[in-house]
Amino acid sequence: MTPSAPVHPLLEAGRALILIPARNEEEAIGGVVDEVYALFGKIPVLVIDDGSHDSTAAIVKGRGARVLRLPHHLGLGGALQAGYRLAFELGFEYVVRIDGDGQHDPRFITDMINAVAQPGVQMVIGSRFVASDDGYTSFLRGLGIRLFRAFLRPILGKPVRDPTSGYVAVNREALEVFSKSFPLEYPEIEALVVLRRRAFHFIEVPVSIRPRRAGRSTITALKSVYYLVHVMLGVLVNILIFDRRRWR
C-alpha cells in the first residue's frame, strides 16, 4: 500500500501507534483501517476489541492490522487502558486514538502528531469546536459539553473547547501515566484531569467530525444525565485522591 501523500516521519518510522477502540463495529471498522493505510501506508494500527459479538476482530486481522482482544467486555476506559499499556510496553513514543465508527477523519492524524511532538505538550485533543460552536451532535450533547466546559475551566486552569472528544494524541510521558491509571467509564474528561494533576499540558487542534458510518452511538439521550453525574463525580474524586496523596 502506498500512501497518497507525504507521510509524517514519526509515523513512517513506526514510532507512533494508531489506537482504535471498537465494540461491535464490523460495519465500520474495515473502512477506518483501510482509510488509515491509504493515507499513511502500513503504519502500526492496533484495534482493541472489547468483547464484540460480531466479526470486528476478524475484519481487522483480514486488513493486516493487529487486534488486542479482551477476554470479556470491560467498557471503553478499561479497553483503552489495556491498549495504552500494551503501547507503552512495546515502546511507542506517540499514540493517536481514533474511533472505530468512522467519525474521525484520519487525515488529521498528521496535525495531531505535529502538535503532540512539540516540547511541553503531553496531550492533544482533536476538537470539533476550535473555530466555531457549530456541529453539536445533538441538542442535549451540546448542552452537556457547555456544562463540562464551565465545570472544567477552573480545574484545568484554561478553557477546553471539546472535552468529550475521543480524537486524542499523547506522547510517551502521558502514555506512561495512562498505562498505569486511566479512568474506567466515560474516560475522556477524567483523563484530562488526571494529566492536569500531574502538571501536564494539552492543546486542542481543529478536526471535523463525520456522521457515523454504521450502527448507533452508545450515548443515548437517556444515559446523558447518568453520564453527566458520573463524570463530574469522577472528576471530584480524582481531585480528592490526588490532594490526599500530596499531603502524605
Binding site: 502500526p44 493487529r66 487486534v67 488486542l68 482482544r69 470479556h72 470491560l74 500494551l86 510496553e89
Partner: protein, 117 residues
C-alpha cells in the same frame, strides 16, 4: 410489638438457616457468610431483648418501639450491603487488571515473531 418481635425472630432464624444451608452446599464462601450471620444474630438479639429497644426509643425520642426496630434492622442491612459494594469494587478492579494482563500476554504470544507492531 410482640408480633413484630416474633416476625423478626422468624426472619432472623430463616436467614441463619439459609446461610448455613448455602455454606454446606458451597453456594457461599465462608468469608461472605460472616456478614449475614452477624446481621442475623443482631436481629435475633434485638427481637429477644425488647428492653434495650424501649430504652433506645425513649433516648431517640421515638414514641413507637416497633419503629425503632425497623430503623435498626434497616441500619444493619445497610452496613452489610455497603460492605458488599466495597468487596464488589475490589473484585471489579482485580478483574479488569487481570483481563488486561491476559489480553496483553495473549497478544504477545501471538506476535512473538515480530516483537513490534
Amino acid at each position: 410489638m410482640d408480633r413484630l418481635l416474633l416476625l423478626t425472630t422468624l426472619i432472623a432464624a430463616g436467614l441463619i438457616v439459609t446461610v448455613l444451608v448455602s455454606l454446606r452446599r458451597a453456594h457461599i464462601r465462608v468469608e461472605y457468610s460472616v456478614s449475614w450471620l452477624i446481621a442475623a444474630v443482631i436481629l435475633l438479639l434485638l427481637a429477644q431483648l425488647p428492653e434495650p429497644l424501649r430504652w433506645f426509643a425513649s433516648w431517640a425520642g421515638i414514641q413507637d418501639p416497633p419503629t425503632v426496630l425497623l430503623f435498626l434492622v434497616a441500619g444493619v442491612f445497610l452496613v452489610v450491603f455497603y460492605r458488599f459494594s466495597i468487596i464488589i469494587s475490589h473484585l471489579r478492579d482485580a478483574n479488569i487488571a487481570l483481563a488486561q494482563r491476559v489480553a496483553i500476554l495473549e497478544f504477545r504470544l501471538e506476535n512473538v515473531e515480530d516483537g513490534r507492531l
